[in-house]
Amino acid sequence: MGQMKRYAPLAILGLLAILPLVGLSTYALHILIMVIMWSVIGMAWNLLGGYCGQVSFGHAAFFGVGAYTAGIVYSKGGASAWWGMPLSIVFVSAFAMVIGFICLRLRGPFFALATLAIGVILRVTAENLTGLTDGDLGIMIRERTWVEKTWYFYVILILAAITFYLVKKVIESRLGYYFVAVREDQDAAESLGINTTLYKTIALCLSAVFTGLAGAFYTNYMGYIDPKVVFALHDISIVTIMIVMIGGVATFWGPVIGSVIMVLLAEVIRSIPKLGAAHHTFFGILLIVIIIFLPNGIMGDMPKLRRILRMGKSS
């Protein structure tokens, strides 16, 4: 069992890597790419919100900055938008440090509210900074790197694998212990010699960088970004939180499971005639159900879920 658990990530990675070879439809591949991209964002959020306990309602800010780094490199710099991925690491971490300096002195709900505001501020800024971002027109990547989706799939799969591995390494190290200590009690952590401000900033930067990388990938993959999409409160920030909540906060697989559920659910609901436009309503209802019945998410409440399933079988 322990062996199985240890090799599960590699097995899943291997399985996913051969999936495009069996000839998936373009649509199926697109869904898969979205699931993996959201897993990256979810894992990134989980590092800050789940392990370090700093709940962010503004991860769209980091996603958007990453996306716009790629977009602007292309539109203003005339270089390939793929340069946005390495460059976003620099820009997003610098941006996160500024945000951290302002917001991390706030605790609990005040931090959450501040990040919420940051996300909105960034959207409005991107809409109005037309010289740089072309405002509401958005940025269009005219030359697509690949017509087929297969290579995009491999790019995001590699990013997800790196994210998963790094999150695991970080959480099992000194950093991870400090993050959780900060989450559980900031005063106690501080009195145990943990520089809480420093470690919260590190958690924020790491989380922001991976979210930004997903954003830069998004620009390359979708070929078009505009402020309303990449800085969206409900479609990015809130969905990120839901993914982690549903999958399981502070678990390694939670964000992955959450992404699978959320992306598939969004597709299914959107395809229902007339009701499709109300998919946010369904997300809301789902979130309420999860909070009441599985407050620790699917991974966090696994024992409870197993018990319920077994009860169903025996009766």
Partner: protein, 241 residues
Amino acid sequence: MKPLLSVRHVSMFFGGLAALHDVSFSVNKGEILGLIGPNGAGKTTLFNVVNGFYRPSRGDVFFKDQRISHLKPNKICSLGVARTFQVVKPLQRMTVLDNVIASAFLRSRTKAEAVRTATEVLGFTGLLADRDVISKGLPLGKRKRLEIARALATSPELILLDESFAGLNPSELNESIQIIKDIRDRGITIMIIEHHMKVIMAISDRIVVLNYGERIAEGSPAEIRANPLVITAYLGVADNA
């Protein structure tokens, strides 16, 4: 002898309330200093000043001749001052062992080293059997000991114990007294707040008494027991009318 910690003319005001007023005393290396006083006398406030949670309104705190009263708690802890909390603050959703590992990291370069220190400290405080228990589920007596274990794992020179005996049953009490003595025997200086008079009189080398934020007495347990000011503070003035 040079004091390890010296509190010099410290005052702490919260609005118009003087929680501490011109308090001075020092802690010598290797001793157990008891800090007593009625409820609201400013004992925990004093700990919060020494530990860096509060910056004193006036006065300074020196640790090994270095002024620490402007430093943040994590810096003060890394200089060698650890503390426990009266209202225990375990890292709730972590196991007992992980709690102690988190603080052992302060002086450990690798995780293996932190685990070793943590395990050793848990053995010392008699919590080794509970290492895998999630600390939220620990009974109060053990949570109080976990506080001590966590503080010890930071390898302090001075440890501030805030009512580590409150709410313990007699057998737990004896265990804890033994632990305090063992800590001193390791060469760690102890400053302890305690309401349990029998305990404080038995283990302290010296005692400082606070009342209404002022230091009203200082001396050996015998001297304190005989001090009329202390008796008045605790029992009130005899009413002869």
